[in-house]
Symmetry: C2
Subunit: 432 residues, 2 copies
Amino acid sequence: MVDISTRVYNHNWKIDPIVRSVLDNDFYKLLMAQTIFRRNINTVVKFSLINRTQDVPLANMIDESVLREQLDHIRTLSLSRGESTWLRGNTFYGERRMFDPEFINWLENFRFPEYHLERKGDQYELTFEGPWIETMMWEVPALAVIMELRSRAVLMNMDKFALQVFYARAMTRVWEKIQRLSKLPDLSIADFGTRRRHSFLWQDWCVQAMNEGLQNRFLGTSNCLIALRREVEAIGTNAHELPMVYAALGSAESDEQLAAAPYRVLADWQKDYDGNLRIILPDTYGTKSFLDNAPHWLASWTGIRIDSGDPVASGEAAIAWWKRHEQKPEDKLLIFSDGLDVEEIERLHTHFHGRIRVGFGWGTLLTNDFRDLQSDRRLEPISLVCKVVSADGHPTVKLSDNPLKAVGPEAEIERYKRVFKVGEQQVRDVIV
Amino acid sequence: MVDISTRVYNHNWKIDPIVRSVLDNDFYKLLMAQTIFRRNINTVVKFSLINRTQDVPLANMIDESVLREQLDHIRTLSLSRGESTWLRGNTFYGERRMFDPEFINWLENFRFPEYHLERKGDQYELTFEGPWIETMMWEVPALAVIMELRSRAVLMNMDKFALQVFYARAMTRVWEKIQRLSKLPDLSIADFGTRRRHSFLWQDWCVQAMNEGLQNRFLGTSNCLIALRREVEAIGTNAHELPMVYAALGSAESDEQLAAAPYRVLADWQKDYDGNLRIILPDTYGTKSFLDNAPHWLASWTGIRIDSGDPVASGEAAIAWWKRHEQKPEDKLLIFSDGLDVEEIERLHTHFHGRIRVGFGWGTLLTNDFRDLQSDRRLEPISLVCKVVSADGHPTVKLSDNPLKAVGPEAEIERYKRVFKVGEQQVRDVIV
């Protein structure tokens, strides 16, 4: 039987929206938004979307009007009653009432602010300027919209059966990855793949496959909407934007304020969250310098997230740092989240297993690995990012442990390198 | 939106029927039935279903009551109005009115006759006794029911996602086979996979995939119902049961009548069908002896189907035979239908392409290749056949070009070998 009403409903769509909920966003955005809500409600920033894979001409693949329709649709969204109930009633990281009623009230009234879209050559310039707490909500949905529009553009001319086999192959690939991972003892892994996913439906499928294939070794997903619908844990901690904005604000005052900024972020964070949410992201201005200068109290935090540089070296540096501060590494947690795929997960797991708790935040190569599934290379992963570029008029800077991931004006980068005493850095390919 | 009515309809099913139409049967059964209708309406035969893969204990895998329910359901079927219209109005092999109104009237009133089912050790004994024209209709549906019940039994305990990936893998495999075949110039291939299919839905999917992937190189399907629904050609010619029954009846009279039986079949067939339906199936009592003793008029027929023995040697023997009778091989057609898979199709195509027209009837390894897709081997292909074993009380015999495929009482086999002057035969593995 054909469900006529569904068919008729579908052919009345003006667009097929990619983002259909305020919660189709990463969980750490809400955690960070709450901390911004409490302390930096008036900070004005600018976010900018950049395609680091310049040889993929996104503006030739995606029609501007189609992109505008999707972004405009996002601006119509607001938190639904059930979504609000979930935020108020659900347990996050073992805790009820993770979010203040005041913050949830704010989120209920939140609407995505304006965007600025302009074609520049074969790329789009997409920026968001305004209150930090509002513009920061755009990062993940904006990336997801562009990624999915690219997927749709590539798949548009495929026949029905070719499409079915295309997804059959992709499912087989994901499932084989999961089967391989299921052999790792004490694995602990989460989906971090919202921003560069192939599509919403595909991420949703991947999460369900992880959940069935890995069971309790699958921690959950960074995607709030999927966590809500599939009744799995919402996962996430904090991101570079916090130290970047704190540093930009501090840099306006003095080198000392700049140097102290990354630790001020964590001092604030510590007032808001505890337990497994106390995860240090040390690489914004170089992991080595960050750890060398870190205050003693920070060593009591639960873990460190390794998001750039050589992950084994960084993990070892973290272990050595904890030992210097009389902490037991076996009680600590290392979270890896940089360009992971199965081989790398296996390698890191083998290296660290038994010495320290290890977690993996698996992103693009979980939710968007369609390499070789199509005759041309138009579905290869691309490195698309959306970063904060200024705060209250001051440019932001990120150095990271890989110079190819550095962001900011050249002169500022040099100043930050001096202030944070960043020496030689190793260049590593950026895939995603 | 959930289609509530479909869900409610589904959970009211007593059984999920495997065969839902009289036309879910091979096309050559109808062609043969019409020729039987015209000449042998009173012949009484017995068909018997045999699992040649004795180490697969079908009776342990399939519940007897479930098997009975499926067979009983088949006995409730009758030709629908639309199906009858299709038989009356459709073009088969380029011809309208392939079937007489009298025959279609008979088919409209046809109901599947009684069956006899008995468990014997780990196997079932399933036989059909009665008028040839009625019992012969059981062969394909009976095989398909047992094959699909086996599939269901094996898949019953799989989780939803494991099942989805299982079929994703199988689809990928079929599609890769089709992509390989699409590289063969002037390929001509049909689906002959009804009897040993994994399931009806799977065969239906395979036919659609072949149709999309090979386009006009895909001739059609032997399955009438799928041909009707998917609007592709219904394909088929004739089977061993015709010479087997004619021979059994002739053997009762004299060796001469026995020796002449295979040619009498074709003399009758020639009155009913022409063009591409004039395909000789020469291996019932040995291809060599058949061709050596064939009347000159038979060489004018369109082609020969190679269904046992060494297919290259048999094809070469056919070409040599046509040449001896002053026929041009390039106008002739060789149809291969014995245990084909992609490698074998490529090999035969390469060997014969350009010298003679070649067609392939691809069966079990199209519609039931789930080898290695499951951890145990319970979905490996099995050699399940349903053969006529007696006609008007006389045992039937099949020798074929492979002694492992011989059927009949030992003494009768010896007599047939003598009468048909069958010498040494080469043993070949029977996979399907």
